[in-house]
């Protein structure tokens, strides 16, 4: 038994060493409390709803979220907008549909089953409108960046004056946390940029946190279900392991040999 424990602690150690080696390039990101971290982590509903507001009023003019649908906004484990509200949100967007019986495309108000409307037709159009830089799709952005939520959260607040000696081209901005410190996106947030319906003060920090929470949910919409199921699964496995352990002891007691 002791041996086995040793084996598995060694296992864990090797795993953690391996993960450490990936995180070699350490940058000190800004820290904040994420409600969705930890064994029982859940999203902060209000933050998700505010985050959606920041996304749709600020980010969505350049960044698409092509894997999300309006119905997701009303689904369990997400912002959980009431269904009527999610329908109203969807209907506020013009969706291209068709072809109709005349073979022509037409627009209509969005429905819950529609995907989020994209700001640009395609990548090329997005690049053309943004001086050659493609504003990345934000559906899985949090998972697509090494630093995850901490990185996004920091980046949004990392705009500073470029240090002396650094020359920036036109349309390039300095960001403390960006890889290489040069970023095409100008500082997207400023205090009071959006007006929150719930009365929360829209500081840059607050908006960064809200929109990052929203992006985390967008990238991992089943996070809450995963945490809940994980806890149950592990408790179950521990109980079964204990039962099997005693059964094993019982069986092996017939032969006098060490287990």
């Amino acid at each position: 038994m002791k041996k086995l424990l040793k084996i598995f602690s060694a296992l864990l150690l090797i795993c953690s060493l391996n993960t450490l080696s990936f995180a070699a390039e350490k940058v000190d990101y800004l820290k904040t409390d994420w409600s969705f971290k930890g064994l029982f982590g859940k999203f902060d509903r209000a933050a998700l709803q505010r985050g959606y507001q920041v996304y749709t009023e600020v980010c969505a003019s350049c960044h698409s979220m092509k894997y999300l649908s309006y119905r997701n906004l009303a689904e369990k484990g997400g912002p959980e907008f009431p269904e009527d509200q999610a329908k109203a949100i969807a209907a506020s967007f013009e969706v291209t549909d068709g072809p109709n019986s005349d073979g022509e495309m037409f627009t209509r108000p969005g429905k819950l089953s529609d995907k989020f409307v994209m700001p640009y037709e395609n990548v090329k159009a997005a690049q053309a409108a943004n001086g050659g830089a493609y504003p990345p799709d934000m559906s899985v952005l949090v998972k697509a960046r090494g630093g995850g939520v901490d990185y996004i959260y920091s980046l949004l607040q990392g705009y500073e004056e470029a240090p002396s000696g650094m020359t920036l081209d036109d349309g390039v901005h300095y960001n403390k946390y960006m890889y290489g410190n040069k970023i095409r996106m100008s500082a997207p947030l400023s205090d009071g940029l959006v007006e929150y319906g719930d009365g929360t003060t829209a500081t840059v920090e607050q908006m960064s946190k809200d929109v990052t929470t929203f992006l985390m949910w967008a990238a991992e919409p089943h996070l809450e279900a995963r945490h809940q199921m994980g806890f149950k699964a592990i408790i179950y496995l521990i109980i079964l392991t204990i039962l099997v352990y005693f059964s094993m002891k019982k069986i092996w007691s017939r032969v006098e040999s060490e287990v």
Binding site: Y67, R226, F231, M248, I251, V255, S257
Partner: protein, 420 residues
């Protein structure tokens, strides 16, 4: 084997068994005499079987939703993660299952190295194992390509380009592998086909692996030949079954932590960016389980020789039974080999570490030394050690070192019948 004269009790059973001796097989598997001193390092065979079946079952279900097309693969994976019922669970089990599979196979291989399980008469088991390991690497690599993220695409590009190192025909082979002039849709569809095929090849080889094992029987920590069945053995069922089950559950707890609480930690963030043939990720590394070989590849400055070194590092294992000249199997009785064994373990871990680091400066130097030592271990140390090493006296039976004489199987059976 003792079970050849097995007769089923019932008439129907006899009738069936005369035509297809499945019951004889089942009886053989349950009664299979196993050394009773097997430690927990021996439970990884069962764990690996579990891993293979898990990968096949989750893989089949994922294949029902995945679309092997360059334009739709990434989206279909997102569809699995978002919309398919339990899709996220199945995909995370499959993705982390690959890592767990390799973790288990490395422990399994290093157990064999420590206790000399590859030595006569078990060479065929070992060679089959190396073939399985090679197929696992192929399956894992091609599976990693399927989500069609940035790492998928560039991993595929880099690995297939290894073949271009072959003189004269190299370029032709690479074009043939791609089915085009770059990694593209034809490459993806053929990788999907092969990724689907290989696990079943592995399954077949696993049957052979176990079959070959059941001819001489298990090696054991003492590394001596034992009489079967005897007081040194226990029947596979229930003794080994319950013990393997216990170890498997411990393994599953670790597995579950990855799946439910850090499902992406073993992956690479860049693979959540859709493949883009115009931009290479800043820092391109393979999955952790291939890192030691990646380090060997990069430590050689010549393109062809690098590939040769990497392949040799794996293939050298196939001839290991003949490189190791020692007659003693278990490292327990080989004081010098035991030390070299741990140096090798450290060497491989170091190779894995530098494989994840940029190939420059000190890292490159370490990689070169570690690569050289890796080959030195197999080509020089092992053959010489067999002749020079002064080994410890080996006991005559298992019961002797364990308890100094004890209850034998017959007594155990008696005890059992008394209980029932």
């Amino acid at each position: 084997m003792s079970d050849h004269d097995y007769r089923p009790k019932s008439k129907v059973g006899q009738w069936f068994n005369d035509r297809l001796p499945l019951l004889t097989l089942a009886n053989h598997l349950t009664d299979y005499p196993t050394p009773k001193n097997l430690n927990y390092w021996w439970t990884f065979g069962g764990i690996l079987t579990f891993c293979l079946i898990t990968q096949i079952v989750t893989g089949l279900t994922l294949a029902m939703h995945y679309i092997a097309h360059a334009d739709m693969a990434f989206e279909s994976v997102e569809h699995i993660m978002r919309d398919v019922n339990y899709g996220w669970l199945i995909r995370y089990i499959h993705a982390n299952g690959a890592s767990m599979f390799f973790l288990a196979v490395y422990i399994h291989i290093f157990r064999s190295l420590f206790y000399g399980s590859y030595k006569s008469p078990r060479e065929i088991i070992w060679i089959l194992g190396i073939i399985i390991y090679l197929l696992m690497m192929a399956a894992a690599f091609m599976g990693y390509v399927l989500p069609w993220g940035q790492m998928s695409f560039w991993g595929a590009t880099v690995i297939t380009n290894l073949f271009s190192a072959i003189p004269l025909v190299g370029e032709g082979i690479v074009t043939w592998l791609w089915g085009g002039y770059s990694v593209d849709n034809p490459t993806l569809t053929r990788f999907f086909t092969l990724h689907y095929l290989i696990p079943f090849l592995i399954l077949g080889l696993v049957v052979l692996h176990i079959w070959a094992l059941h001819v001489p029987g298990n090696n054991n920590p003492v590394g001596i030949d034992i009489k079967k069945p005897s007081k040194d053995t226990v029947p596979f069922h229930p003794y080994i079954v319950i013990k393997d089950g216990f170890a498997l559950l411990m393994f599953m707890i670790v597995f579950a932590f990855f799946v439910f609480y850090s499902p992406n930690i073993l992956g690479h963030a860049d693979n959540y960016i859709e493949a883009n043939p115009m931009v290479t990720p800043a820092h391109i590394v393979p999955e952790w389980y291939l890192l030691p070989f990646y380090a060997i590849l990069r430590s050689v400055p010549d393109k062809l020789l690098g590939v040769v070194a990497m392949l040799s590092a794996i293939l050298i294992l196939a001839v290991l039974p003949w490189l190791d000249t020692s007659k003693i199997r278990s490292a327990v009785f080989r004081p010098l080999y035991k030390q070299f064994y741990w140096i090798l373990v450290a060497d491989v871990l170091i190779l894995g570490y530098v494989g994840a680091m940029p190939a420059e400066g000190l890292y490159l130097l370490i990689a070169r030394v570690a690569t050289a030592y890796y080959f030195l271990h197999f080509l020089v140390i092992l053959p010489v050690l067999g002749f020079k090493e002064k080994t410890l006296p080996v006991p005559l039976s298992i019961t002797e070192p364990v308890l100094g004489g004890s209850l034998n199987l017959a007594t155990a059976r008696q005890k059992e019948s008394k209980i029932e």
